[in-house]
Amino acid sequence: MTDRSPFAVRSPQSVVGTARRKVDATAKVTGETKFADDLSLPRMLWCKLLRSREPHARIVRIDTSRAERHPGVVAVLTGRDLPIPFGILPISQDEHALCPDHVRFVGDPVAAVAAIDEDTAADACDLIEVEYEKLPPIESVEDALASVDTPDAHIHDYGDAGNVHKHIALEFGNVDAEMATADHVREDLFFFEGNTHLPMEQHASLAQWSPDGKVTVWSSTQTPHYLHRALAKVLEMPAAHVRVIATPNGGGFGGKSDPFNHEIVVAAFARRTGRPVKISLTREEVFYCHRGRHPTLMRIKTGVTRDGRIVAMDFTSFLDGGAYGSYGVASTYYTGALQTVTYEVPHYRFRGARVFTNKAPCGPKRGHGTPQPRFALECQLDKIAEDLAIDPAVLRKRILQPANSVTANWLRIGSMGLGECIDAVVERSGWQTKYRQLPFGRGVGLACSSYISGAGLPIYWNSMPHSGVQLKLDRSGGVAAFCGSTDIGQGSDSVLAYCVADVLGIEPEDIRIVTGDTDLTPVDLGSYSSRVTLMTGNAAVQAAERAREILADGVSRKLNVPKSRLVFAERRVFDTESPDRGVTFAEAVQIAEGMFGTVGTTGSYTPPRSPGRYKGAGVGPSPAYSYTAAVAEVEVDPDTGIVRVPKIWIAHDVGQSINPLLVIGQVEGSVYMGLGEALMEEMTYRDRVRNVVHHHPSMLEYKSPTTFEMCDVETILVHDPDPSGPFGAKEAGQGPLLPVMPAVANAIYDAVGVRIDEIPCSPHKVLKALKDKMKGNAGRFGPTALPSYAFPDVAHVRTPAQGGTGREEDGRAHSEVGGPVEQAGETTAAAGAAPRKQP
């Protein structure tokens, strides 16, 4: 069912489904929220990091003696003091708190100073002498692939081949054989430039050593649990002696999901000095932390029938990973994982390679590895629709992946509301009166997407729950909810309160939320992969249902009413057949406490096992997939190439809104971030002559939209409850970003007839394509060749339709890609193309 009002009210009494204030809203807007940088402790020292000014070098010598003698300096650390490597993924433990002997990008930390104030620490950093032996810098995917036989240029001594960190080759079904049967085959190349999260809050951390030999670290982190593990490992301390408190994050977007060197360094300093030690990064340093969008070069070859059904797809991606592993192996898999969940792709091949380069490490940014292939896929579908003379909305609706199905790559789909999303944006945007009908310079474009509601597998292999919630019920009627989840502004604290309140029939304000503290709260894996509402929500519901059961036992006995007739609502527990007969919620707790002792419950959540069993099947599965469709309207100035976006209509299948206001906030925030990626954001570097420095590590010159560039957004929420989610809820924080970039690119084509196959759609690209078109050429801006790379032989996996088992088959085929690509697409069907507008 499509809910035309964004404010879907489940029932007048319920909390879930109603628009409510966030539990932390007042503190945020009055400036009372204590972010990490607001914290201060007596006798606190300040830490500064000395960062590498070489993109790639061996450290020959570090002399810290002048810094140590500098007045006000208390301690200095170098890589020798913290030799144990760490990293977010068990297979990429390739980072050090401070580089021991090898620096890998401008900004890599090599030494640290703790001093009585920040100025002193900064001055002392300048007194540290570092002698470097330069190594050949790797600037690009092409450099990385060419350096296999140059050991000096190898950024790491692990990986699949030289500077190739990871390569993947998977085939589901029989792609080549099926492709040969297609009526029409298109092969297109796309490039998606890297970009970064740009959270308003710069990372900050504070560490305190306690006399009993334990350490506490407050940090702006999205993943306190993973930081906890990294700290214990590098500091060689029992994890039980390490406490991580995630402070409220002033934005994360994936940029605070890795354990960071500065977090470990302040903890090491606290241990060394016995004093609290704080670090507050500059904006430039935040750019060096990065972990943002991988620059990705892609080839997509798709075979379709005359009526647009996909018969086979062959997808290849090359990711520029930067200097460290980070989440990169997962990112690489993600560039190939979710192509199959929106449209039926019966036969599918994916090859992907991530390389190391001497730049700040890439990682997970909102949409993690999937916005790039989604851009490629949705733009190619727009071209296919034109080739076949089918309306792009009609084409997409025709080929939707069905609900309750398993894809060719073994992803289990539950609820699937993409068709309703397409209908909603087509209707609201006036698509039928605008597409190919607006005057030259104005256009509309459509694109769709899907995203996981949490990853099916944890980052390190274990069989424990992904999220745990503990409830403490107080005889005052108050309820405390403890959970390891971390509010990064998305509202996870509020969702926790709403879920518990809804089940117990009380108000969210009655609930004290304690989150993100590894000493106090049960583990939640963190605020990443859009997992928290679904996983924490399910754990919270389970804990609350268990508490309700205990209270109902007590009240049932006390009032002599059968449990099945008891209702929890309006802060009361009462007989549904005789509503006057009941007790207040506080009385219910008192009754239960008197009968059974102190009332407390736990709940936890572990995702269901995915049917995929092949190597790599761990990336992509999720308990539920959200779906989004968007229409962008653009205005293109043909004299300048400048693109403005007046409005975006976006419909999101969220399953069930826990709080529709927060869902709309996530959708609008996604549109904003997507618009920045579509139009201007670029994380780029100078050439090796200029030492591969970041082009512009500042908020002024890294261009991100202001309110002037932000478009109007009309959000339509599609409610199609998914049985896997709490109350039917799915994710909302990432999926709605994905269609924005391809919708804008497709709209540019509708407006002026040029294809910008490269993100961002900068004015010079549009203008160049327009000039190209006026010369009678294709009118396209984008990559023209893939680098040559010998991928490993593909692992064959039979699809569910072929009666496969989800495991790899024996027998591998040789697999090589590369070389220039004909952009026109080989057309075997005589399809009448819709007329393109001429400038």
């Binding site: 920040e118 201007m680 420095v693 002024l700 002037f708 004015p763």
Partner: protein, 332 residues
């Protein structure tokens, strides 16, 4: 966070006291008005004066005097917000008001002054960076280094004139008054700038800009405009500014013109060939196109701001054309 270096701070209340303090503290001294240019630069260690002399407590620098018919004098410490909103300026010198209004953001315009705007430090993507970043490229010749990274074989610095107010001041034929213990002089704004990213001002460091003089304007005898090109409609410095003043004869034909480009060189670049192309015309499309072509040819933006330099050069033609079309529209 980025922190300011230590410095001695003075707050004189008269111009006389300010210039005396400055002379005493020379050479390692700077004036500050709004601080929106100097302080960020100091945090990045682009400028590290030992002494800073603040001008905001000097009442005579905050006045706006005169009339459009006789010309107006704007005190150097009038903020950009005040200048943009001033009724006579807004109505009779809309290009001046507009250029002030499109600087950065409201908050910075509330602090930033017209004096600071006219003397804005030249900018460059290799210079407007943190100390640590600049260290990684061994600095540049504008500060602490030897080389110009924009053009490594060049003997000069190519940092860009990036003020919105400057091309307008030059196009209008405005004057400025500067003063020091050595005396006071009034000079045309056009004479204040030099095409060098480091020595970008034709004035002594001790000479304090105290006043900005707008020329007289009578009904319809001349029109002016300013067009700013930048990525976003807030925050950003221009990557191209086009200021134009066009004087009209009684018959409506162009009797004189001045077309000035900002942000394509280290100084406001006046393109007299573009002006020549419209003199004697009635700003028909052909004349405007010829002027746009004439401006396009000598414009040589370098790779030191946002956007690609080839595109910025292309935009000179488009924006000169649109600026002159603006003026034609104003005049009808």
């Amino acid at each position: 966070m980025l922190r300011l270096p230590r410095f001695t701070y003075h707050e004189p209340t008269t111009v006389g006291e300010a210039v005396r303090l400055f002379t005493e503290a020379m050479p390692d001294v700077a004036y500050v008005a709004g601080g929106t240019d100097l302080y960020p630069n100091m945090k990045r260690r682009q400028q590290t004066p030992a002494t800073v002399i603040a001008l905001h407590r000097i009442p005579e620098l905050r006045a706006i005097a005169g009339t459009p018919e006789s010309g107006m004098t704007i005190g150097a410490c009038v903020t950009l917000t005040e200048l943009a909103a001033h009724e006579a300026v807004r109505l009779r010198y809309p290009a001046v008001s507009h250029a002030a209004h499109v600087v950065s953001t409201p908050i910075l315009r509330n602090m930033g002054t017209i004096g600071g705007n006219l003397l804005l430090d030249t900018r460059c993507n290799y210079y407007d960076q943190n100390y640590e970043w600049r260290k990684a490229i061994n600095f540049c010749m504008k500060r602490d280094g030897e080389i110009c990274w924009v053009a490594p074989s060049s003997p000069r610095c190519w940092a860009v004139q990036s003020s919105d107010g400057v091309p307008v001041a030059v196009a209008l034929g405005a004057d400025v008054t500067v003063t020091s213990v050595r005396g006071t002089r009034r000079l045309p704004a056009a004479g204040l700038y030099r095409n060098d990213g480091i020595q970008y001002l034709e004035k002594g460091p001790d000479e304090l800009l105290v006043a900005y003089h707008l020329p007289p304007v009578r009904d319809g005898d001349w029109r002016a405009t300013y067009r700013k090109l930048r990525r976003r409609d807030a925050f950003d410095f221009p990557v191209l500014g086009v200021a134009a003043r066009v004087d009209f004869a009684r018959d409506g034909s162009v009797s004189a013109a001045r077309i000035v480009l900002g942000a394509v060189a280290s100084y406001p670049q006046e393109i007299s060939a573009a002006a020549d192309a419209i003199i004697g015309t009635r700003l028909d499309e052909g004349a405007i196109g010829a002027a746009a072509d004439a401006a396009y040819r000598p414009a040589k933006p370098m790779d030191n701001t946002d956007f690609t330099l080839a595109w910025r050069k292309e935009m000179v033609r488009v924006h000169v054309q649109r600026a002159l079309q603006d003026i034609r529209a104003q005049n009808t």
